[in-house]
């Protein structure tokens, strides 16, 4: 009903490509966290692909040798459900992206200001931040409704 509609609306990232941020990270196929639209833009073989923050369950980062790894886990059937996520699972035939892992070099090339992995570090920090804000707001809205 109306409730579901409201939830759905807030979990759509962009209406069209024109709303996507014009940031160099998006063009250069790096990860970009759009705080305004609460969306993480991930590069997948040449395409910047948006994922709304509500689809992301948790993230983890690790550094091994010369590389930094960023793993992003998504909500999917069988995972612990977010309370508002019920609507998403009304598509029993859908395939879900469950997890993606990115890798990036820690070492700087001559002439580079920062190592490539700084992009993953920034993404990690910002995803956490946006996720926290989103969850807080969600909780507040639920309280209001009760």
């Amino acid at each position: 009903g109306k409730e579901a509609e409201k939830v759905r609306k807030s979990t759509v990232s962009y209406k069209s490509v024109n709303q996507m941020p014009r940031e160099p990270e998006v063009k250069d196929l790096k990860l970009y966290v759009d705080r305004k639209y609460e969306t993480v833009i991930m590069p997948i073989f040449g395409l910047p692909v948006p994922y709304h923050i509500s689809t992301i369950k948790n993230i983890s980062q690790s550094i091994e040798g010369d590389y930094t790894y960023l793993r992003i886990n998504f909500f999917h059937p069988g995972a612990t459900m977010g309370r508002n996520e019920g609507g998403n699972y009304s598509h029993p035939d859908a395939t879900f992206v469950k997890e993606v892992t990115y890798r990036s070099l820690n070492t700087k090339e001559p002439g580079e200001i920062s190592a490539p992995s700084s992009n993953l570090n920034t993404a990690f920090r910002l995803i956490k931040e946006v996720q926290k804000r989103f969850k807080t707001r969600e909780a507040e809205e639920r309280e209001k409704e009760d």
Binding site: Y14, G46, P50, Y51, P77, D93, A94, T95, K98, T101
Partner: protein, 179 residues
């Protein structure tokens, strides 16, 4: 001879945008790498379909070949009309827009065409994976894991992707067969 030339057009390779330039002549499409001088040449007869896709501040050409492989050239500015006319006139191909899903959802349907896996949300494509980029594919209960060849030229490189697949869906074994 009729031709179009564009500078600063990148060709996408495993998530890396190789800088270069592109030239469209009446008998082929030639992309030349700025760094290595390497040339990619596509003849119109090999093209199955050509699409353009809007990105932030630019657009890209998506060229799907009859042999099943996918080529992407990115960095075009406002010339879609000119390019579309060129394709129509010289190659007898319609360059149609292929819209991308901007919804931000992680669920959809998976389709295979040629050597390409596409993940669609509704009618629109969310992303596509050329299967030549996949180094390993493993399946588990309701799950498929794809591991990718790494490219250190890319600022960030996609390593692994895991999908949740609904039960009793036999067609989903396709990625395994594709290797």
């Amino acid at each position: 001879m009729d031709f179009l030339e564009f500078n600063s057009i990148s060709s996408e390779h495993r998530g890396y945008l190789a800088p270069g330039k592109i030239k469209l002549t009446n008998d082929s499409l030639i992309w030349k790498s700025e760094k290595t001088g390497k040339v990619e040449q596509i003849t119109p007869d090999d093209i199955d379909c050509v699409n353009f896709q809007k990105f932030v501040g630019s657009f890209g050409l998506r060229i799907f070949l009859k042999n099943g492989s996918l080529h992407r050239f990115i960095g075009f500015k406002d010339d879609e009309k000119k390019i579309a006319d060129f394709f129509k006139k010289n190659y007898e191909l319609d360059m149609l827009e292929k819209e991308l899903s901007m919804r931000g959802w992680n669920w959809g349907t998976v389709n295979f065409k040629g050597d390409v896996l596409s993940f669609n949300i509704g009618e629109k494509t969310s992303f596509e994976i050329p299967l030549s980029n996949v180094s390993q594919c493993t399946t588990g209960k309701n799950e498929v894991t794809l591991e990718f060849h790494q490219n250190d030229d890319a600022p960030v490189s996609l390593m692994e992707m895991r999908y949740h697949i609904p039960t009793t869906e036999s067609s989903e074994n396709d990625p395994v067969d594709a290797f």
